[in-house]
């Protein structure tokens, strides 16, 4: 490995990395705008100029690969002068409209100005060039040409990642501007990524614009539940509301990107139809009751049916939207505590949604179908549970995170599940299935729980609780734990890491894994891992 020295610190650098990456290994920041590790290197912003000994001119760190014996200075007076100069140049024609700019607070112009420039302008304000502002360019992207520093990250993203090339640089010199071609707006399912990678406020989200100052937002790492890819995301939230999703780097799953379907999918997680109190059916009406009473009611029904008709009178149908921990906890409750064989899973994708594409989007819109399979529950639960229901053996069904009425249609639902005596639904929303249920226990949505999903490539990633669930809702594992306690008086794990530890200890597919080991990039199921190179 080449040995490089950056600001006096030595590094045995991995072959082929550039000086920005090498400096990062040493905890040294080399400021940059145009460089993005997921894109090609244009070297146009000139912010990352550093001094490399034995080379007379300053070199751009982004396009300089480490070489053995290289001695680099990122804080010499020459470098500092160049950094100040670049920032001064970038700002002379910048509108400096930070007070009304959505990017303020997460803007690299602001940050670097404070860190590397911090000087008064020598440019007369009245002489700034003016360009277009607040231009809608399609796919939820708003363009402000004056704020743009022409780093070309967005054009490279559309050229290199989506290969749709909707954005380009027009005109020349100081009149350069990013724009779409006439009457050819941005039209691709990954457009939101250009908003993320824009280092300034030139590209902003029409959805997010003016809704929240970013410094009020908290960032919680999680996983997108929009499809079986499970892109790593950050949930940006404030006071119990999600304001946006942003992709989080995961080289194993989604690299730096996510699709717009997932990005703008958070609306359904906090919709008006969220259930906030346990409900039970009384003379064709759903009435609320406190959670302890609801648990007692559910446990009583389970106990009654078990005593009257045997353990196999009780069953569970688990949706592929449940976390690994929820699936495992409910499976164990039904199989081990209640003693029934009737546990099945359902992975349902409504018709008319996007199919597999070459980048990230998957046709299967369930985040955890692979988890159902890895846990031995399978995804054929509807077909497997229909015969015992029809034969009258299975009378009480616990349904976790699946809207059966929506999946099957009302006729089919009634045909298959109509004979049930008791339908107990654990879900987040007042779905059509809930309307048909005897009892509903409201549970936490993904932003309100700790847990994990197993994506279609058998990669397990962690979700982190961003804030509390609304009203009286509890996490599903808490509800299942309480139900268990009501049935056998034994206290059981109700936290995700404890449930995951039980899961890893008893499920062969997850053998040896730990919840802590899923931090950052997650981990592949042991049996799915490619053999270590000898």
């Amino acid at each position: 490995m080449p040995k490089v020295t950056i600001d006096g610190k030595e590094l045995d650098a991995p072959l082929g990395i550039n000086l920005i990456e090498a400096a990062e290994h040493l905890g040294v920041e080399i400021p940059h705008y145009c460089y993005h590790p997921g894109l090609s290197i244009p070297g146009n912003c000139r912010m990352c100029l550093v001094e490399v000994e034995k080379i007379p001119k300053l070199q751009i760190a982004c396009n300089t690969r480490v070489a053995d014996g290289m001695v680099v200075h990122t804080d010499s007076s020459r470098v500092k002068t160049a950094q100040q100069a670049v920032l001064e140049f970038l700002l002379i024609n910048h509108p400096i409209d930070c007070p009304v700019c959505d990017q303020a607070g997460e803007c690299k112009l602001q940050d670097y100005y404070m860190d590397y420039d911090d000087q008064s302008s020598r440019f007369e304000l009245g002489k700034k060039n003016h360009k277009g502002k607040a231009i809608y360019v399609g796919s939820d992207v708003m363009l402000d040409q004056e704020r743009c520093i022409l780093c070309a990250r967005c054009t490279r993203f559309f050229d290199e990642v989506t290969k749709t090339s909707e954005l380009a640089i027009f005109n020349r010199g100081e009149h350069c501007e990013i724009d779409i071609y006439p009457d050819r707006p941005i039209d691709n399912k990954y457009a939101g990524n250009v908003i993320d990678i824009c280092p300034v406020g030139a590209l902003t989200s029409k959805d997010f614009r003016f809704r929240m100052r970013v410094w009020y937002l908290h960032e919680t790492p999680s996983v997108c539940s929009g499809c079986e890819r499970g892109c790593a995301i950050d949930i940006d939230h404030h006071r119990g509301r999600i304001y946006r999703f942003k992709p989080r780097y995961n080289p194993e799953v989604n690299s730096y990107w996510m699709c717009d379907e997932g990005r703008y999918g958070f609306g359904v997680l906090q919709s008006e139809s969220r259930a906030t109190r346990p409900l039970y059916q009384s003379v064709n009406r759903l009435l609320p009751e406190p959670y302890p009473a609801a648990i007692r009611r559910a446990a009583a029904r389970i106990r009654e049916h078990g005593e009257a008709n045997g353990a196999n009178a009780i069953g569970a149908l688990i949706g592929a939207h449940s976390t690994n921990e929820e699936m495992f906890a409910l499976k164990r409750l039904v199989k081990e505590v209640i003693g029934s064989d009737h546990v099945g899973g359902l992975s349902f994708t409504p018709p008319g949604l996007s199919g597999d594409d070459k980048l990230l989007i998957r046709a299967n819109k369930n985040p955890n179908t692979r988890g159902l399979i890895a846990l031995g529950i399978g995804a054929d639960g509807v077909d497997r549970l229909t015969p015992p229901i029809a034969s009258g053996q299975l009378k009480l069904l616990i349904v976790l995170r699946c809207d059966l009425v929506r999946a099957l249609g009302e006729g089919e639902f009634l045909k298959r599940f109509g004979p049930l005596d008791y339908l107990l639904v654990l879900d987040t929303d007042l779905s059509e299935t809930v309307q048909m249920a005897n009892q509903m226990l409201p549970i936490a949505a993904y932003q309100e729980l700790d847990g994990s999903f197993t994506n279609f490539q058998a990669h397990v990633q962690r979700l982190t609780k961003a804030f509390d669930p609304p009203g009286e809702s509890l996490t599903a594992i808490e509800v299942i734990g309480r139900l268990g306690h009501a049935l056998d008086d034994i206290d059981r794990s109700k936290t995700a890491d404890a449930v995951f530890a039980d899961l890893a200890a008893s499920e062969p597919a997850f053998a040896g894994m730990s919840f802590a080991g899923l931090s950052d990039h997650g981990a592949k199921l042991p049996l799915e891992r490619s053999p270590e190179p000898a």
Binding site: N44, R46, L58, G173
Partner: protein
């Protein structure tokens, strides 16, 4: 002095193939194809000390020697006919009047680097010149000088002509390659250098038109003949483009090493109207000017001009008399580079515009004293910090004009007006 670059002045219809053949045309190519190995050609070029005529003065033979001998990708040769440096107008004549000389040079270059595809990249405005070359290519193709199995040698070369869209920066070799590939004319980062990864990812030689025109002569007459012309390290004849305040402006073929004063007074006929020389830009608008006193000592070859604090560039010599406003002249230069900056690198994109605005203020009588230091500081911040040298091409004149003619800049600021009523004349003269 033997005129070999501008033989059309002596030979009528040199652009026609039969005339060109009658005057030793394609004999050098025949020699290169049948009597010389590629290594021998490169060695002859190296020992001739021919340096690139496009402005950077890099040794041509050395450049060719960088092309990998065992490239798996096709090797390309590009002839740079994007002549657009201010004050430069040599290539356009060569393309019109001696196209076969250039084609022959390209052919020999292809043989030397084992390329079978060559491109001639024309400046966008060179529609007529491209037509001349296309006609010459058709003649050469019909006679078997290009195409398959050239002159029965078994060596193939196809030459394509391509016209740019009118950007000065596309004369920069990597921007030229981008443009040739159909992309926006942006200079590329180096490494990789074009010799390793140039056009379409293949190793590529890019040489100026005038460089190509020298090649057949060196092959035919030998490096010693060539080296005997002018200084040993910077030999050969050069096409000098004389413009500005001269009695006889125009294109002149002169040996390297001709004193600048001789060029101005003997060749160019001196300054009209009995006026005195104030300043002369020796190599196109990208370089600092000489004052009359400095000019008297300058010898016109690459190294001497560099040693004197400017550069010979394309030998686009622009002469300014003592009625010329230096602020206006520099503003004109700044206007050009602001307009031609591709906009890729921050310092150039923003700096060229800022400098033009400051100079326009001074010229319009609303400049401030601190602008002078600011201009130098902004120019220094641009210099050396960008992908290509377009930023330097404005920074250098700024850092040349202001200290050399500081009094004039100060007068503009003090009087709050341009003291030269006729300052606009220079701008139209330089532009024309």
């Amino acid at each position: 002095m033997e005129r070999y670059l501008s033989r059309w002045l002596d030979i009528k219809d040199l652009h026609k193939l039969d005339v060109y053949e009658a005057h030793d045309g394609y004999r050098a190519a025949r020699k290169a194809l049948f009597d010389m190995t590629p290594e021998a050609i490169i060695n002859e070029m190296k020992s001739s000390n021919l340096r690139g005529r496009g402005g950077a003065a890099f040794a041509t033979g050395v450049k060719w020697s960088f092309i990998p001998k065992d490239s798996k990708k096709p090797v390309y040769v590009c002839c740079n006919a994007d002549e657009s440096e201010t004050g430069s107008f040599a290539n356009r004549y060569e393309l019109e009047f001696d196209p076969h000389g250039i084609i022959e040079g390209i052919l020999i270059t292809c043989r030397a680097v084992n390329a079978h595809t060559a491109y001639i990249y024309f400046r966008g405005e060179f529609t007529g010149q491209k037509r001349c070359v296309d006609e010459a290519l058709a003649e050469a193709r019909a006679k078997g000088y290009i195409g398959k199995n050239i002159m029965g040698s078994g060596f193939d070369v196809e030459v394509w002509t391509h016209r740019g869209a009118g950007a000065y920066v596309c004369g920069e070799e990597t921007a030229l390659l981008e443009s040739l590939e159909g992309k926006r004319g942006y200079p590329r980062n180096r490494p990789p250098f074009p010799a390793i990864q140039g056009a379409f990812g293949g190793p590529t030689v890019v040489n100026n038109v005038e460089t190509m025109a020298n090649v057949p002569w060196i092959i035919r007459k030998g490096p010693d003949w060539f080296k005997a012309i002018g200084p040993e390290k910077s030999p050969g004849n050069k096409l000098f483009c004389l413009s500005g305040h001269l009695n006889k402006p125009g294109l002149y073929e002169l040996p390297m090493g001709t004193p600048l004063n001789e060029v101005i007074y003997d060749i160019g006929g001196g300054i009209p109207g009995g006026k005195k020389l104030k300043a002369v830009i020796p190599g196109g608008g990208s370089f600092p000017p000489f004052t009359a006193e400095e000019a008297a000592k300058v010898i016109m070859d690459f190294d001497s001009v560099r040693a004197a604090g400017s550069q010979m560039g394309t030998a686009g010599i622009m002469v300014m008399d003592d009625d010329t406003c230096m602020v206006g002249a520099l503003l004109n230069v700044a206007h050009f580079f602001r307009h031609e900056s591709c906009g890729q690198c921050t310092p150039c994109r923003e700096g060229t515009g800022w400098i033009e605005k400051m100079l326009a203020d001074i010229e319009a009588g609303c400049g401030k004293m601190e602008d002078l230091d600011k201009l130098i500081s902004v120019a220094s911040n641009m210099e050396g910090n960008t992908i290509c040298v377009l930023a330097d091409s404005l920074a250098m004149p700024v850092k040349g004009f202001i200290p050399k003619f500081k009094d004039e800049f100060i007068e503009h600021i003090k009087q709050q007006r341009c003291p030269f009523q006729a300052s606009s004349q220079l701008q139209s003269a330089a532009a024309g």
